[in-house]
């Protein structure tokens, strides 16, 4: 799961060095447009729907991981 998530980040932000420490603060490519691209990729990859308030919360890798894994368990 974590590995799959990291791959989504790497693909979306076109940066192979990204790991679980990535956040909007330390990643230049994580701008508003790529945030949408990230959401689209996550929705496709995990077949989930991410709601607007959840999008706002997704400010770093761990937040994304928490939301997605909660959705997958539900």
């Amino acid at each position: 799961m974590r590995e799959k998530l990291i791959n989504v980040f790497r693909k979306t932000f076109e940066d192979l060095n990204i790991d679980e420490t990535v956040s909007q603060k330390n990643c230049e490519n994580w701008d508003s447009l790529n945030h949408i691209n990230l959401i689209v990729e996550l929705e496709n990859e995990f077949n989930v729907s991410i709601e607007p308030d959840e999008m706002d919360e997704m400010k770093d890798f761990y937040a994304v991981e928490k939301i997605i894994s909660a959705k997958l368990k539900a």
Binding site: L33, I36, S49, E51
Partner: protein
């Protein structure tokens, strides 16, 4: 290539960066002057007040006129048509928004028709593949002002570039067909020339429509050819005697009916027509033949053939869409098939003469050199895109590039050729760049392979160089840049009297001193001066 997008919605996710630069929403005043292509990509706003919406759409055409006056004249301007994604109706009989949209779409088509560098991209062609709920994801619309669902971004981008390729004129030149169960149902060898299925009821009706489509393709300048394992006389009998055949023997510019390998036959057809394998598609119902051709000639496109005759109509539209559609046909396209047929007659005439120069004189070749102008620039750009064999530097240009070259005070010429068999139209391009008052460089020199081997290349070059000499030019620089298709011209400049000054990795640089050379007159043809 750099694109500038005028937009009223978020479209960054459709094209990405960094080749694309975006205006502010609804901003028509700021503009990037360095782009090659300008896109006007507006979507009908999602509006609950329909009469306000109607008024807003009305302003779009005016804003396009404003933008057009603002963008550089050598840029290409692409206008997308409008489609309403949120078409609510308070009264079913109220068509005012639709009418305004129709009106806009008609206006831009007319606008493009009157201007060389303006083209229309029909958004309906993309939109019609999806339902509204697929097209718009209202979550992303509300959050990010994206009207096209970001999940369709990849499809949208590839659709856009398909359209853009058509505008830039990239298409196949020739379709080669098998016969039995491809152009008609059944097998001649078994069913006889009148027993094959063409016309009448299904499945003959399906093959008939397929043939009708191919006639249209031929009229649009696609070359048709046959490659079939059959007895030639049986096939000729079908063409001669079966009254339902829409295609006639003479519609095919090259024909190979024998029992040899199809790959070998296709290679021969390419040589006979003087076209590259990569501009050919091969159509055959037999999967084994298709696989063999794919294996031996990977450059040739070999689409899968439908299992059932009723699938021929969608198959035909797939062929057109994928391989043959263009933004607009040039006059040369419409003439092309008759030109290839005239070439066959020329070859026949050639066999009657023993002395080559007698033969050349008998062709009554006349060439006319023209400066580039707005009527021939599309064809000039097209030739730089498509010519592979007789092309000394193989530089590819768009119409916008050509206009830019001219605007920078360089010289662009094109060549018209006709002979007693027909008019080949514009078939050569020569671009000279000015280095100084006395020195020029040949930036592009190419001739279409339809007119090769008739000394036209020397006549064209010498005529232009002698004019340059009169205008005070002394030195001419030239370069041969090797590709895997143009080896036939690797020594062209030597033959034309140039001196080789440098050679590296096959690239040859030349210089010519016009004071030290007598440009030979070509006596076998007539030159009409520009």
């Amino acid at each position: 290539m750099r694109f500038y997008v005028f937009r009223n919605f978020t479209v960054e996710n459709l094209f990405g960066n960094p080749e694309f630069i975006y205006s502010g929403y609804n901003d028509i005043l700021t503009c990037d002057y360095q782009s090659d292509v300008y896109l006007w990509l507006y979507f009908v706003p999602v509006a609950l007040n329909r009469s306000k919406l109607k008024d807003e759409i009305k302003t779009y055409f005016q804003s396009i006129e404003l933008i057009y006056n603002n963008v550089p004249a050598n840029g290409t301007f692409l206008i997308f048509t409008l489609r309403d994604f949120y078409n609510i109706k308070y009264q079913n009989a109220d068509f005012s928004v639709e009418n305004e949209i129709d009106n806009f779409n008609r206006q831009v088509v007319q606008f493009a028709k009157e201007r060389q560098n303006v083209k229309v991209v029909d958004i309906s062609d993309f939109v019609c593949r999806y339902s509204v709920n697929q097209l718009v994801d209202w979550k992303f619309f509300c959050l990010s002002k994206m009207i096209i669902n970001p999940k369709l971004a990849t499809s949208f981008k590839s659709w856009f570039f398909e359209q853009f390729d058509k505008i830039q004129y990239k298409r196949k030149k020739c379709a080669i067909f098998d016969l039995d169960n491809t152009l008609w149902g059944g097998v001649i060898g078994e069913d006889g020339s009148n027993g094959i299925k063409i016309g009448g009821n299904y499945p003959g009706s399906a093959f008939l429509m397929f043939q009708e489509g191919l006639v249209e393709l031929m009229n649009a300048g696609v070359i048709l050819a046959i490659c079939s394992k059959n007895n030639e006389n049986d096939v000729l009998e079908v063409f001669r005697e079966n009254p339902y055949m829409r295609l006639k023997r003479e519609d095919f510019s090259a024909v190979r009916i024998n029992w040899d390998s199809k790959a070998e036959n296709i290679k021969q057809i390419a040589e006979e027509l003087n076209i590259g394998l990569e501009s050919i598609i091969f159509i055959d119902d037999n999967p084994i033949e298709r696989e063999l051709v794919k294996a031996f000639l990977p450059e040739v496109e070999v689409p899968d053939f439908p299992e059932q005759p009723y699938e021929l109509l969608p198959f035909f539209s797939f062929l057109v869409e994928k391989y043959f559609s263009v933004y607009e046909l040039t006059d040369e396209d419409k003439l092309k098939n008759s030109q290839y047929k005239a070439n066959q007659q020329r070859d026949l005439a050639k066999s009657k003469f023993i002395d080559y120069s007698d033969y050349l004189k008998s062709l009554e070749i006349e060439i006319r050199i023209e400066n580039a102008n707005k009527f021939n620039i599309p064809r000039i750009a097209q030739l730089t895109q498509k010519t592979n064999q007789f092309n000394l530097k193989t530089k590819r240009y768009t119409e916008a590039n050509i206009r830019k070259i001219i605007s920078e005070n360089n010289l662009v010429f094109c060549l018209n050729v006709k002979d007693k068999f027909g008019d080949s139209g514009i078939t050569g391009v020569l671009i000279l760049k000015r280095l100084s008052d006395a020195e020029i460089e040949i930036d592009t020199f190419l001739l279409s392979c339809r007119i090769l081997a008739k000394d036209i290349e020397f006549a064209f070059l010498n005529e232009i160089l002698s004019i340059q000499k009169q205008n005070g030019i002394r030195y001419v620089n030239a370069v041969y840049m090797p590709t895997n298709k143009n080896s036939q011209v690797s020594s062209f400049y030597e033959k034309a009297g140039f001196t080789l000054v440098d050679e590296e990795l096959g690239m040859k640089k030349y210089k010519l001193d016009l004071n030290n050379i007598t440009l030979k007159e070509i006596s076998t043809l007539k030159i009409e001066k520009a």
